[in-house]
Amino acid sequence: MMERKPKNIFVEGPITPIKIGNSIENHSKKTGIGGHSIFLGQVRADVKEEGTVKGIEYTCYEEMALEKAFEIREDVFAKYPLTCMHIYHSLGYIKAGEICLFVFTSSKHRKAAIDACEELVERIKKEVPIWGKEIIGEEKAVWKENK
């Protein structure tokens, strides 16, 4: 088996519905797959004391983030019988309503895909050094906190 190497998970700007659609289509020849699970994170227009969130500016510690994402990826591949796994996270400014996280798992049967997808999302949010700054107006911003 080929040794897997860290992949770039980062995308500059929002993740477009076209990219997501293409990504699904790319699996049509892998006919051993019986189920996909997809999580899409969307930027929410939270109403805060300072005003309404217009978008989030994402930054990361890229070298560490890619190492961490690779470690999580290997762990989840080892734990579940998956055929495929894809992780994309946005960097830069993402407007409210746009997609900033795309996690896509595929397996022979649904359960592994669903459980792996959920575990990936939780671990990405908790362990990967990415920061979101919620932009409120021309001058105001609040650093995002993960719940």
């Binding site: 930054t59 560490m64 900033c100 999302v121 908790k126 990415i130 920061w131 650093w143 993960n146």
Partner: protein, 78 residues
């Protein structure tokens, strides 16, 4: 003693004059924190963790010369 590179991210970067500092005579993370709190008191009110060469550390950890140390506020990806 060699130099170390300190990189700051997120809200920590906004509390330092630059998001990259080069420091000398720092042997461990406790010494680093002492220096940072003295130079940049605003950091005392900000939660952050430390990574040495891209691995998060807990407790006092040695910092070898030429290391890259990162100051990481709580992650908020997704």
């Amino acid at each position: 003693m060699g130099k170390i590179k300190v990189r700051a991210f997120g809200m920590i970067a906004e509390k330092l004059p630059s998001n990259e500092l080069e420091l000398e005579n720092i042997a461990n993370t406790d010494q680093l924190l002492g220096y940072l709190y003295q130079q940049y008191p605003a950091l005392k009110h900000t939660k952050f963790s430390i990574a040495v060469n891209r691995k998060q550390v807990h407790g006092n950890e040695l910092i070898l010369p030429e290391s890259e140390v990162a100051l990481l506020p709580p992650f908020s990806g997704g």
